[in-house]
Symmetry: C2
Subunit: 341 residues, 2 copies
């Protein structure tokens, strides 16, 4: 008797969102729907260790990436042996499995999928790594992973022109015109908040709370901070403004918990003020946000304080983009599913 295995015809793509600290794996049906998904902690800076007794000298970086791949989807690779395999994110950086050279911006979104870097995985199928993007301006900018989310959201929303905000550790704002990525900026807002609250004097009087359990006082403190950048005091700049998170505590105006929300608002407000100062016609612009739900809500709240209200929050952009880029690369056949939301 033949063991009952899933039919390989049902699976069209195995795709990885492989970042610095996490690895997400998706198994798509041939029609582009996600059949299964997993999240693991095996980011490129945190690969699974070799088994005890392994000769350390023989444990190459390659072997670490293979162990992570095995852990994430070894069973899928075995059960669906001819399925194409794609990955986006920091796995294509210099510190990743193989460096996938940057493509220069501006470029058409459809071009991103045309230049994959191929790695022999040892599992019978090669891994196709999505390139990052490089903008060679006076102050250059880079992204890895967000290009895939951009491809996903454009396809989902069926639009050609969009300003896409990807808030997070390093927020990206991506300007798309006629399905071309024209320009993008990076703001180190999330990482800035983390180091200010964990490693500076501001953290000493502050009590951090999760953004998804906020109450009215938290929201008021967030809004107060978000408005600083557009006030007269905002002209003193972020290096000066952030100190008020401490001094408003000293004068009894902000509780320890409110200070955390105020500082978060203050940084996001400066990000939005800078976006306004550098973006022509932003008030006529349709804007989409992709990212953590609670954080996107915060950004929506702050954008409204700057009279930007034409905002939508997009979901599942990463997996949608991985499928879309695989289609651009000819790894899967485009299906009607990919052009519907």
């Amino acid at each position: 008797m033949t063991p009952a295995t899933p039919s390989s015809s049902s699976t069209g793509l195995i795709a990885l969102d492989w970042g610095t600290t996490s690895l997400r794996a998706y198994r798509f049906n041939a029609d582009g729907r996600v059949a299964d998904k997993r999240a693991l902690p095996w980011g490129i800076m945190n690969l699974p260790p070799a088994e005890e007794g392994t000769d350390a000298a023989a444990d190459t970086p390659d072997a670490g990436f293979r162990r992570a791949l095995q852990a994430a989807c070894g069973d899928w690779l075995r059960d669906f042996p001819i399925t194409p395999l794609i990955a986006a994110g920091m796995v294509g950086s210099k510190q990743g499995w193989r460096e996938a050279p940057y493509l220069d911006v501006p470029l058409a979104v459809s071009e991103v999928g045309n230049t994959m870097t191929v790695v022999d995985t040892g599992f019978g199928v090669p891994l196709h790594i999505v390139p990052g993007l490089l903008q060679r301006s006076a102050l250059p900018n880079v992204m890895r992973g967000e290009e895939t989310q951009v491809a996903g959201i454009l396809d989902q929303l069926q639009v050609d022109d969009l300003l896409i905000g990807l808030p997070g550790t390093h927020s990206k704002w991506v300007h798309v015109r006629g399905k071309r990525i024209e320009h993008f900026d990076t703001f180190m807002t999330g990482e800035m908040y983390a180091v200010l609250s964990n490693h500076t004097i501001l953290g000493r009087t502050m009590q951090r709370a999760a953004a998804d359990t906020t109450d009215a006082e938290d929201n008021a403190a967030f809004a107060r901070g978000a408005l600083v950048a557009k006030s007269a005091d905002g002209r003193a700049g972020m290096l000066s403004n952030i100190f008020s998170s401490r001094t408003l505590g000293l004068t009894g105006e902000l509780s320890p918990r409110a200070q955390a929300h105020y500082l978060s608002g203050l940084l996001i407000g400066h990000e939005i003020a800078a976006l306004l100062a550098t973006t022509d016609g932003i008030r006529q612009q349709r804007i989409a946000l992709i990212g953590d739900d609670a954080l996107c809500e915060r950004y929506r709240q702050a954008l409204a304080l700057y009279d930007l209200t034409n905002i939508e929050i997009a979901a599942a952009a990463t997996e949608h983009g991985l499928w879309k880029l695989a289609a651009h690369a000819g790894l899967v056949s485009p299906s009607p599913r990919t052009s519907r939301k």
Copy 2:
């Protein structure tokens, strides 16, 4: 025979510059000249531990401050028993020996010495703690210690109007008109540089070098960074601009060592650009800098890039100010020495 002890008539003041991480002690002659000085690591967050075998419950905070005072100048207090004792800095904060309430800005510099907080030291003489200053603006500002340096420099330079820059962990810019402190700002520039280079992705590709051993390439990188805030790219703000410290490394334009100097310049440039944006008539303003020599040189270099060249660097402002405030407080008699440089 009487042992040969120093004549107590020769000493006029024992003064402490007592901060968070360090304690500096000065012994002044009756004419206001520094006869002896010492630097110890016993800042208020780092007091000397009790001797082994001491009952921990009996070790009050007071006892820790007394041990630090004993270590810094127990011999002076013994040899010159009726000498007044003064301290400025974080020793007067809530976490210090005794909280010395803030005085409100604006105020005359001479008023600072009129409201000392007195602590029983247990050494026979009380300690007079200089108050900090509080500016109750929409975004409040505070200082502790810098008010003493301001008093010192005004007296040294014999001026009534001055913009005083005190670069450091938290840079202060103090506007003095008619010997009154009218306004001041705080920029967290030094602490920002420390956390960005020690705790963010920017530090990973960076090699930090001491500011006092710079070469021509270092200086060029510093200047390049300092100019960003006044360039068109500066409109994207600091949260965006700092990312270029990494990307200019990725594109091969900045070496690891140059990245450190570039980031330092970038932050200081944003501080100066904000100062220009918020200070009327700054180009006609006489400016003095007080602080670490190498850092003041960096600021002078950056200020020149913003066409601010009417700069002088002041020395020994702290000890001069401690003497001056003691004179304002009636603890010592003003002497001709205090009105000469």
